[in-house]
């Protein structure tokens, strides 16, 4: 009996040892953090991979050298390959990198606008969504120009590493609402969805071109905050890349863009707006501004009905917020005056929202997701698919309404007038 037991144990051990046969050490893998996809020159696609540098004794090493990118004590390398598909690029990469490329830790898949506009996103994503090592939670970005350049210039900022940089960068979507946190799952789900059309985050390298250093100073004109596309923010230094605004898709073809400001309106209409700071012209003194921190008060109220084939939509948004600053010093902190700011903000949001909706209707892309409500009027999938909501969106008559309440006035509950001496008045 003991012999039989011993033989059985040996057999079990043999099964356990099988893991050693094709074991993969952590040092045998190159963990891809960023993937960039452009249209190629020598082949259909140009694929860029960014991964931690393979330093002796691990990747942790300060300083630069050998074409590596700096950042937070870690160094990174990029590699660009022209290939007919993602999997072909993967294979070709492995002919020069003595490590197996691993996508378990991939943070961003960056697709160039060029590819998105050519309707090649679906074609390129097909092998990616089938690849079990690339997670559906990987974020997907649309790069304004070259995805390779974006991947190359995305560096850790403020002492972090790329993984943390990416995680924290995406978190800003909740803090500002100027873009959205969208993953591969979102894009793939939306591309085949009969309920709405897909969106993706716009990304770009900011080359400081919009930062004007010399010339006339700004007067009293009003600029809507965040009303830019990625790459257009007038700034200097800081991180070389930025995420701002959204790309609008019809199926897998990019047909338009929303600015950061429009993205916030979209988030409000979808009920996913968390908070954002708004600067609007002071209703009593339009050359000065009022700053408001705005949040969603409750989920928007959306109704959809049909008259014949024509859809009608009613959208009511509920917002609330706090006053952050009143440049004019006008004493708005009274029950009679607070509604003045509230109504002014409601008018501002309604006007902008109507413009944004009109823009998406011109593109015939329901990114506002009114289809989620419209579908409730259809009993079966064949009826819903026969109606084809995405094609009828452009014909929809959409009525909007905004409700805004100021809850708090910051640390000041009274605005005193600034006193000037007689000659300065």
């Amino acid at each position: 009996m003991k012999r039989i037991l011993a033989v059985a144990l040996l057999c079990v051990m043999a099964f356990m040892l099988a893991g050693c046969y094709d074991a993969k050490d952590i040092n045998d893998a190159a963990y891809i953090l960023l993937i960039g996809i452009d249209r190629g020159m020598s082949d259909k696609f140009r694929v860029t991979f960014k991964f931690p540098a393979f330093e002796a004794g691990g990747a942790q090493k300060g300083g630069r050298g050998g074409g590596e990118s700096p950042g937070g004590g870690l160094s990174y390398k990029t590699m660009t390959i022209d290939a007919p598909s993602f999997n072909a690029a993967l294979e070709l990469a492995n002919t020069s990198i003595p490590r197996a490329l691993n996508f378990m830790h991939a943070q961003f898949i960056v697709i160039s606008e060029d590819i998105a506009k050519a309707g090649l996103v679906g074609e390129f994503l097909a092998p990616i969504v089938r690849n079990s090592s690339i997670r559906y939670s990987t974020r997907l970005l649309i790069a304004r120009e070259s995805a390779a350049e974006f991947v190359e210039l995305l560096e850790p900022f403020g002492g972090s590493d790329i993984t943390r940089m990416c995680e924290n960068l995406i978190k800003q979507a909740q803090e500002t609402g100027l873009f959205a946190d969208l993953t591969l799952y979102d894009l793939h789900d939306c591309m085949t969805s009969p309920y709405h059309q897909p969106i993706a985050v716009l990304a770009a390298v900011n080359k400081d071109e919009n930062f004007i250093e010399k010339g006339p100073k700004w007067d009293t004109k009003y600029n809507i905050p965040g009303d830019y596309y990625a790459g257009d923010v007038p700034r200097k230094k800081g991180s070389k890349v930025e995420l701002l605004g959204l790309a609008v898709f019809n199926g897998d073809r990019m047909v338009g863009k929303l600015t950061g400001h429009e993205s916030r309106l979209l988030a409000m209409a979808k009920g996913v707006f968390q908070k954002g700071t708004y600067t609007i012209p002071d209703p009593k003194c339009p050359e000065l501004n009022v700053d408001l921190e705005v949040r969603e008060a409750r989920r928007p109220d959306i109704k959809v009905w049909f008259e014949g084939q024509k859809p009608f939509v009613s959208l009511k948004i509920y917002l609330e917020g706090d006053i952050n600053s009143i440049q004019s010093g006008i004493h708005y902190e009274t029950p009679e005056m607070l509604p003045v700011i509230e109504r002014a903000f409601e008018r501002f949001i309604k006007r902008e929202l109507d413009k944004a909706i009109e823009k998406t209707q011109r593109l015939n892309c329901d990114v506002f997701c009114f289809g989620h409500i419209a579908v409730k009027k259809f009993a079966t999938i064949p009826e819903w698919e026969a109606y084809d909501w995405n094609s009828h969106y452009k014909d929809a008559e959409i009525y909007t309404e905004v409700d805004f309440k100021i809850r708090r006035t910051g640390t000041m509950i009274y605005s005193s007038k600034i006193k000037y001496s007689e000659e300065d008045k």
């Binding site: 378990m104 079990s132 997670r135 995680e167 799952y185 989620h372 259809f378 009993a379 079966t380 999938i381």
Partner: protein, 364 residues
């Protein structure tokens, strides 16, 4: 005659529920979405209602012949030869079902977890488990099921709770899917999802009383239906129906979606235990049932000599499908859509014949 050992109702419920659920963790949710679209979450309840009727027939049959299992009842009702055919047919379907479940498990594990491992190695590992569990017997499988069932239930609920941030209620619309009639027909056809509940008729002697068969059967059915309902509703809320149709193993895709900040992500390996353990209980249970039927048919007093030969047949059958498409769209499709004929129709014929011929077992 083979002694199976006695075990309690909770153990029996655990083993039957796990056997029902195990196959639903793989490609079945995908097939359900393809068949009924957004109506899958209540289609499983329609199937449960049909299965309840089917089980009631099995229960009345067992009640009519107290102290007998279904193979003995077939012999008593139809005589040795026709009874032999009925029991043999049941064994063949169970063995084929076990083989297809084994192959399905291996295919999914190969796609998502061990892409470079040869399938024969994965099949072989599971076959060894089946052999070992068959040697230690049904009583131990059932007792282990009770222990594992609690952990698996907790894991299953945690999985859905963590994935609940992806729930969007518009995805259940249009509520009638591809039409109510289609949902009713598919619900009837796919009632074999719960077919494993009727296995209680094979190991009825392991339970203490005939009332236990009723309790175990209905309780298992209610628990399995509730879990399947929750799972199917969760999947419908996470994936729109066109996306759901594409996914090979939707539940695994759900686990891979879970992502809470930088520290809580890539948790699917934890949930891998749910489908690994459930498969390691479900397939040995089906296999053991086949051994019990075979030993009854050929009057073999000891199961041990037939365990290894049958495991070879199991592995061989599992290698028949040439690819996953053939496996899912042919073998599994027909097993699920016509399994009810074996699980519910054969006992119904036996009950009808017994009632007409006024055959009864010795009433205690």
């Amino acid at each position: 005659m083979v002694e199976q050992g006695k075990f309690g109702n909770e153990e029996a419920i655990a083993v039957l529920v796990i056997a029902c659920m195990a196959k639903e963790f793989f490609t079945d949710p995908n097939i359900i979405v393809r068949k009924v679209g957004t109506a899958g979450w209540y289609m499983v309840l329609i199937s449960a209602a049909v299965a309840a009727v089917g089980f009631t027939v099995v229960y009345f049959l067992l009640k009519r012949f107290p102290g007998k299992n279904v193979m003995e009842i077939y012999d008593a009702v139809f005589g040795r030869y026709i009874g032999f055919v009925f029991s043999f047919f049941l064994a063949a379907v169970l063995l084929f079902s076990a083989a297809m479940n084994l192959r399905e498990y291996v295919e999914i594990i190969k796609i998502y977890v061990f892409p470079k491992t040869p399938p024969v190695y994965l099949i072989g590992s599971l076959a060894v488990t089946v052999v070992i569990l068959s040697f230690i017997g049904l009583e131990n499988i059932a007792r282990y099921s009770k222990l594992a069932g609690c952990v698996m239930l907790a894991g299953f609920i945690i999985l859905l709770l963590l994935a609940s941030s992806f729930f969007r209620f518009y995805r259940v619309y249009p509520l009638l899917g591809y039409g109510l009639r289609n949902t009713l027909v598919q619900g009837f056809l796919r009632s074999s999802i719960y077919g494993e509940i009727t296995l209680v008729a094979i190991f009825a002697k392991s339970l203490h009383r005939i009332e236990d068969v009723r309790k175990v059967g209905y309780t298992s059915l209610i628990i399995a239906a509730a879990l399947l309902f929750i799972m199917q509703l969760g999947l419908t809320l996470i994936f729109t129906y066109p996306f759901g149709k594409e996914l090979t193993a939707p539940l695994y895709a759900v686990a891979s979606l879970i992502h809470y900040g930088g520290f809580f992500q890539r948790v699917e390996s934890l949930f891998l235990f749910i489908w690994n353990i459930s498969t390691m209980i479900a397939i040995p249970l089906l296999f053991y049932m086949v051994l019990l039927i075979y030993s009854h048919l050929f009057k073999i007093g000891d199961l041990r000599p037939i365990v290894v030969p049958f495991s070879v047949i199991l592995v061989t059958l599992s290698l028949i499908p040439s690819n996953i498409v053939e496996l899912v769209q042919f073998y599994i499709k027909y097993l699920r859509e016509f399994g009810w004929a074996v699980f519910y129709v054969l006992p119904s014929i036996a009950l009808t014949v017994a009632a007409l011929s006024q055959k009864k077992g010795a009433q205690t």
